[in-house]
């Protein structure tokens, strides 16, 4: 399969800094958000320093409209979010062999301050949410 992002072009201003990295990829801190029209609403978070490191992401409200993780203010203080417009929330998608059975990690949402260009994976201590939530339920 040809690399979708072989020719990814981005501006320095597009870079989002994950100052703590992302668990499992702690040393990789610079990412950009990219999307391909045919693949929306799925988007990509791609590591600028190693394009092999990339995640499919999606806005969790699109498939779980009541997603409302309990988050302590201290967990996101360093993101300096001033208002709702600053904040983008995504969850990382784990693609399954049968692609329609793919899941999203509701226990580790990505919080991104789009104004300050900083992001963080927040680990949510909330029994309602797991790391593998089906994006498309069987009944659908």
């Amino acid at each position: 399969m040809a690399d979708l992002f072989a020719n990814l072009v981005f501006q320095k201003e597009d870079i989002i800094f994950f100052n703590n990295g992302i668990p499992g990829f702690d040393n990789y801190k610079r990412y950009v958000l990219a999307s391909v029209e045919e693949q929306k609403p799925f988007e990509w978070l791609i590591c600028v320093d190693n394009k092999d490191i990339r995640f499919v992401v999606i806005n969790p409200l699109l498939f779980k409209s009541d997603y409302d993780p309990k988050i302590d203010k201290s967990q996101i203080e360093d993101l300096e979010i001033k208002g709702k417009d600053d904040l983008l929330i995504f969850v990382i998608v784990t693609l399954a062999k049968k692609i329609l059975e793919s899941t999203a990690n509701l226990m580790g949402p990505l919080f991104i301050n789009v104004k300050k260009k900083v992001g963080k994976q927040i680990i949510v201590d909330d029994e309602r949410y797991c790391t593998r939530e089906r994006i498309i339920k069987d009944e659908e």
Partner: protein, 85 residues
Amino acid sequence: MLVLTRRLGEVIRIGDDITITIVELDGRNVKLGITAPKFVSVHREEVYQRIQEENKAAAQGAKTKDINQIATFFKDKNKDNKQKS
């Protein structure tokens, strides 16, 4: 691994900015109080491990799988829902 023995109420300091206090001892459970700067994350290890594993699985799949089918399905589903309502 550095192993220290502490009693109830005693504290361990890590670096200049992190402390761990034995807050409560209750049979097999130890309650720990942790102070750390905001940029240092603190998590139960097994929870952190689960997140780490899932991230690695997600990154692996993202390299090799094609998401067009699920994107199309998703868009069609939402079109249907809009038409129904």
